[in-house]
Symmetry: none
Subunit: 402 residues, 2 copies
């Protein structure tokens, strides 16, 4: 586990460049016993060559046997203890649509629902209204004002929206209002400890005003609120690692996670080509680049072994364009495994490659793949160790002690 | 380290089956430099085939360089932090003879001793009386009653017995009465903190009554009490792992350890054949089977390399009968190493095999042995990680975080 106090003490500034290339859900398992994994099946001449000239190994995102969500998986890559720094659902929903939260924020995940004349819930998801309808209803709710706090409400998808209160002294120790089944009234927001009572009062006031606005709408005439959470208060990259850091990601969720770590978000990216172009365009201005590729995970979740391998090949083809920039350290890894056979995030360790010309040891491997990684110089290690390794190989760390 | 709170949160119920096959003291070292270990010397065609189709590695019971007792070794396999959850000698002695303890119990290890007319100890072990005599004397002590608590006293072996007080509000913060050398009187039971005074008073009352009963016996005419301990309060398998668990063990010590973890004990087993039959007979009723084989450790402690290898071969021959049941996960490991060369428990990492058809990665190994395990996909890992791995490979774990 990276010790953030130690990092804060030892990390130094410098003019070296680090690229953390995350292929989401990279790790896999064989389709048939004894066969190759997706990464081993894919034709990856560039990564294979790099593996022979670098150090490879397997990173363990959380712990043996624990399959991580995207939040904990990325926190570990960024060097934060993913069990200590929890990202609640309200925050994840908010950062997932690109909201940048502050430590003063309390966020909830909202659902539009349908209630009858007695305020009894008849449909917890309001007939799964389309996103367009959600956007329209959220527009009606935006004018709601509360005393002493800023209120942010944004549509997410279908019947879901994000609600953020921004102000001093707020608490996320609040109960959920969704009774979890139809035939019951929404619950009031309860304070789970006395200090949360003022926030609970604000939340109840907001719900009452929302109900007043929605009461003649059909089918979405009420809201429920869940997953209250505060911004996790991660110490920022600039502070702990002395890095000017940028996130080169397409999906809002990963931009949101990067923003929690204090990274600058490069906006308006839609493709791998645009990401590579953005990396070049921003090369001079940052020390650290979090480069996220989503579709390896998507095809793994689909259970499509060949398509996942093909996504890996697309990233492999982009490797020479990244190397052209001559990063001092290039790490290629994933935030977790998403084996196509398993169709979900899994607990399997993640193939990881660390390229740092002139400073790495030799490993006798033929290429980049799960089985070869067992023989690699990095061994099997906690994903939280990657940031200290990245900084040291980038000559940005002092020694510890005299 | 398995985080039990995390396990409690993530483990789910399911209809999969897990077998944890523990060959006690499995790990070994070569008889001569460069030679095979006991496991490598043994002919184990079934385990070798399984290793090629599974993942192997080396588990570290406590920490590098720490040789575990049976208690900590098994606690680690069961996923409990063996340094946090201590099993005191009194408890180990009690569970070792099959007593099932409750959180209300305080247990001590008792010795019969010999005192002269001035109550000065002349023999701390009463001439090492035979177990039959011990049983006879314990019978005399059983009628002793104390106010407000149940008293359980049972013979263990030779001059040793187990004493248990069962009642509300008892404490194990008590001093030992054995002065550790002859020529001194037995000490009174002292309370090591004020809250333990009532228990100390009860203990002294029991000793006085025992002395009264024994005073005309020879040579065992007095008792000393040591190793006061309370039941360790392990969270139970059903609660943390959502497993219906059964222990298929011959020796009382291991049944006792399993009972502390909340496993159901299959009684009346005397041989490997009976154990296999019990596994089949109970297959439908449990999710998890702790299957313990003792004699690998016994022959290691004897220093008999060939005999230990032969015990390993007996277990190897039973593997096909276990596989017939089609466990979703079969783990083969030990609670520690007991190299015949060392004639005792040792600190060497323990060969471990995890079989989970369809979900494991490939490792390029030829068979099951300490040297091949170095190349295995499991790597070297804390033994406490085995339960999270077992549950994940058995599809009984949710992912962590969104």
């Amino acid at each position: 586990m990276a010790d953030l106090n130690l990092m804060r003490e030892l990390a130094t500034t410098g003019d070296t460049k680090i690229v953390l290339l995350v292929m989401d859900g990279l790790g896999g398992i064989p389709r048939e016993p004894g066969g190759p994994t997706e990464l081993e099946f894919a034709k990856t001449p560039n990564l294979d060559k790099l593996a022979r000239e670098s150090m490879i190994g397997l990173s363990i995102p959380i712990a043996h046997g624990i399959a991580p969500g995207s939040g904990p998986g990325h926190l570990a890559l960024f060097g934060y203890d993913p069990v200590k720094f929890l990202i609640g659902r309200g925050v994840l929903e908010s950062v997932g649509i690109g909201l940048q939260l502050t430590p003063d924020d309390v966020a909830a995940r909202g659902n539009f629902c349908t209630v009858d004349e007695n305020l009894v819930i008849t449909d917890r998801r309001a007939g799964r209204i389309p996103t367009e309808k959600c956007v329209e209803l959220v527009k009606l709710l935006k004018p709601i004002k509360l005393p002493g706090v800023e209120v942010i409400v944004e549509a997410v998808q279908d019947y879901r929206f994000a609600l953020v209160f921004r102000g001093k002294g707020l608490s996320d120790r609040l109960g959920e209002t969704d009774p979890q089944k139809t035939g019951l009234e929404p619950l009031p927001v309860k304070a789970l400890d006395p200090a949360a009572q003022p926030t609970a009062d604000l939340a109840n006031e907001w719900v009452a005003k929302a109900r007043e606005i929605l009461k003649n709408e059909r089918p979405a005439n009420m809201v429920t609120l869940r997953g209250w959470a505060q911004e996790p208060g991660l110490p920022k990259f600039s502070e702990i690692y002395k890095l000017r850091s940028a996130a080169i990601a397409v999906y809002p969720m990963y931009k949101g996670l990067a923003s929690l770590a204090g990274m600058t978000l490069v906006q308006g990216l839609h493709s791998l080509d645009e990401q590579i172009a953005a990396l070049k365009a921003n090369w001079a201005d940052y020390d650290f680049f979090f480069f996220h590729y989503k579709y390896t995970d998507s095809r793994g979740e689909d259970g499509n072994f060949d398509a996942k391998a093909s996504e890996i090949e697309k990233v492999d083809a982009a490797i020479p364009r990244i190397l052209e920039l001559k990063p001092d350290v290039l790490i290629v890894t994933g935030d977790h495994s998403t084996p196509a056979v398993w169709k979900a995030h899994s607990w399997h360790p993640v193939p990881t490659l660390l390229h740092a010309p002139g400073l790495t040891r030799r490993n006798d491997v033929t290429g980049f793949g799960e089985t070869e990684c067992l023989k690699g110089a990095l061994g099997q290690f906690p994903a939280t160790d990657l940031m200290p390794l990245a900084l040291s190989y980038a000559k940005r760390m002092n020694k510890f002690g005299a």
